[in-house]
Amino acid sequence: MSKLIGYRILALIPVLLVISIVTVGLTALLPANAADRIAGDSATPEQVAAIRADLGLDQPWYQQYWDWLMGVVRGDFGNSLIDHSAVLPLVGDRLGVTLSLALVATVIGLVLGISAGTIAALRSDSLLDRAITILSSVALAMPAFWIGLILVAVFALQLGWFPATGYVPFTTDPMGWLSSVILPGLSLGLIVTAMLARHARASMIQVLQMPHVRTSRAMGLPARSVIGRHALKSALSPVITTMGFQFAYLLGGAVVVERVFGIPGMGDLALNAVISGDMPIIQAIVLTTGLCVALAQLAVDIAYGYLNPKVRAL
């Protein structure tokens, strides 16, 4: 297992390199660039050219990329082309917020989704099973931002239980943090809950038919032990795979939910950077997001190892 983890971590390096090259290529296709942003709409061509030269945008793309890459190797992700603020602390702060939100949504999705799916499978074809299936279909059909707007209207504006907007860092005030992430976490997590509930239900129904589960039941093991120690563990493998894919969705979905709740995550930063053609920020966001997704996949592999001894032996 440790070999697998080591190999996966080493494999990240070429993956991130390819991601950075693709990002440079795609960004070069964008018609927007920082010089045009700074110049505004009443600049002369000479003024735009002067700004391009100031920012180094008149250099060939491979030269710009090489300069950036050498900076990254030294731990310097550069500065924003627009206001010259250092990119790494900026992206780091925002990434922490987005990950925090994604983590809360993941916990909500795992706890509610697996519970609902398991209950539905155990009561297969019952009224409760159908209700869970219908509710998960409804949740899947609702966009996260719409759920967010409803939650704000009810729990923030009407009841005043939670703040309508804003984010409090965990290190500043843990209770304030919890208060600020519950509604956005629910907005984002309900869709994951629905997805996982459906997968957990299907997987659990299949596992409950398996010989080792039937044998356990026949041997008179208590239902809690059969479900918790044998069936659930086997049923979780496809659910964990789904969760791995869902994590990438959560990072993307967080962009929209962050706006609705005025949360300072990666969303607005990424949007502004793309509109401004602020290349150092775009590169840092894509790289760190790619790294997070890759690490989430690694976590899925480790979880597989826990759930499946065959994988652990690799």
Partner: protein
């Protein structure tokens, strides 16, 4: 059986945590503290460096920390700023400065500092540089006087000095690479960098070297960036912020019994024809065709439907009450579809089509215009361009026309940017000899009356030849808690919110 108490306690803990978290929210926020104002706006500051900041809407972030040489009153008139008096002639603009002023870092705000700022702005390539296009050099003529010498007359220079062109930065910070995030000015407040979070919120505290108490009324000012319209409205209604810009679509949903709403004049919109030689769209060369286009646009209906009534149909750039308003132009090209059809027939144009670039709200306005034009037999194609590229498209020759809100607030700026053959927003470099002559007459006028008359002639030529179709002036809506916030005044041309100078908080 042994696990039941554990499960019960886990559930109790989770519920308890959530309840405690909700109580945290009920405790209120910073917006309740006396002397402290929390505001929300929709766009982040581009940079605190005035050479790379476009000004106008962005001034909400810059105004607390920076003074300008001149200012605008609530009606848009130029009034004293750091310069208590100014004299404009065709050859120079002389500024008489306040005495005894200092920047927040202790540097003297004197004639030398003003000279350094203007020279720095002149040498830059950013949006403010255009204000000094007619300036040749800057001279300190006395301990409190600075003279900007002009190559050509610059009647718009005073009004430009009320925006980013006139912002004063401490001279030692002018070339600092950190100026974009660490402003050093002479305004009533300084940016508290340790409490601010880029793109999230900017916290300002009083500048101890600022002595005009009536402008320094707050103990703490926080401007939050909330890009989502619904989030800003929710933050205002829940008391998280005291004052906020509200999207027009959200205006009716904000509870009027709890907040005060005011609509302030915003940007002027026009459909400008740029391909006047007909290179891309031959029809655009035809003056009668252009008149048909202008006459076919139902600006009142667009103001009502697209802007929810928060816009005023206005067929010339300068509205009633402005010194450059031309009464005789009222009603020119007023909406009349039958007249538009007649003009189209009269034009003899067989291929009645042209295209415009669009994105975001401009696309919505464009689609409304497109419908009006289709009704009279004119095809206006809309090409959706990528975000962040509209400014660029308006400077280039890819489209024969453009629908755009404009930044120009003086006829000279209109001429220099949009009508002059070298104007950046005259990308096909089309010459208008009669307009040029009228402008020269205005620029060299000896008196204000002569100048206004010549600019009226210039605007009349533009309207007669339908070089652009004047559409409407939009409004920006600012809402605040009236029990807490007083003294909110319109800041002309600041669509993202008012100036916080003289705003008081109870």
């Amino acid at each position: 059986m042994k696990r039941r108490p554990f499960r019960a306690s886990t559930t109790t803990t989770v519920v308890g945590l959530i309840a405690a978290a909700s109580l945290t929210a009920c405790g209120g926020g910073d917006a309740d503290a006396p002397g402290q104002l929390t505001a929300a706006t929709l766009v982040d500051v581009q940079s605190f460096d005035p050479t790379v900041n476009p000004g106008q809407g962005q001034r909400i972030f810059l105004d607390p920390v920076y003074d300008t040489l001149l200012r605008n009153d609530a009606d848009g008139n130029v009034i004293a700023g750091v310069a208590v008096a100014h004299e404009l002639t065709p050859d120079y603009l002389e500024l008489t400065l306040q005495q005894g002023r200092e920047f927040s870092n202790g540097e003297a705000l004197d004639a030398e500092a003003v000279k350094a700022n203007i020279e720095h702005r002149m040498a830059s390539s950013g949006p403010a540089a255009g204000a000094f296009a007619n300036a040749s050099r800057v001279e300190v003529t006395g301990s409190d006087t600075v003279r900007i010498h002009l190559d050509r007359p610059a009647p718009a220079m005073p009004i430009a000095l009320a925006d980013v062109a006139g912002i004063l930065v401490a001279p030692t910070s002018l070339d600092s690479p950190e100026l974009g995030t660490m402003p050093v000015g002479s305004g009533p407040y300084i940016l508290d960098e340790s409490a601010s979070n880029k793109g999230v919120s900017y916290v300002y505290v009083p500048n101890e070297r600022f002595d005009a108490d009536e402008q320094q009324t707050l103990n703490r000012l926080e401007i939050k960036v909330l890009t989502d319209d619904a989030a800003r409205a929710a933050a205002l209604q829940s008391g998280q912020v005291d004052i906020s810009q509200i999207a027009r679509a959200q205006a009716d949903s904000v509870d009027s019994s709890r907040v005060q709403k005011e609509a302030f004049p915003g940007n002027y919109w026009m459909l400008q024809f740029t391909d006047l030689d007909g290179t891309l769209a031959p029809a655009v060369k035809n003056e009668t065709f252009r008149q048909a286009v202008c006459t076919a646009i139902d600006t009142e209906s667009i103001a009502e439907s697209i802007f929810f009534g928060y816009a005023d149909s206005q067929h010339q750039v300068f509205g009633a009450g402005n010194e450059f308003h031309v009464e005789a132009l009222e009603g020119t090209h007023a909406f009349d579809p039958d007249e538009a059809r007649r003009l189209l027939d009269e034009s003899g144009v067989t291929d009645a089509q042209f295209s415009v670039p669009a994105f975001g709200p401009i696309q919505t306005v464009g689609e409304a215009i497109q419908g009006n034009l289709r009704d009279v037999g004119i095809d206006m194609d809309i090409t959706v361009v990528q975000a962040g590229t509209l400014d660029k498209e308006n400077r280039e020759t890819n489209f024969p026309a453009t629908v755009t809100p404009i930044k120009q607030v003086h006829p000279q700026q209109l001429y220099v940017d949009r009508l002059s053959p070298e104007g950046p927003q005259n990308p096909f470099n089309v010459a208008h000899p009669a307009v040029d002559a009228a402008y020269e007459k205005a620029a060299n006028a000896e008196t204000a009356e002569e100048r206004a008359s010549a600019f009226a002639e210039m605007q009349t030529l533009v309207a007669d030849e339908a070089l652009w179709c004047g559409l409407f002036r939009d409004q920006s809506i600012v809402a605040w808690n009236p029990e807490k916030v007083q003294g909110v005044e319109n800041a002309v041309g600041w669509p993202m919110g008012p100036s916080f100078r003289e705003v008081t908080v109870e």
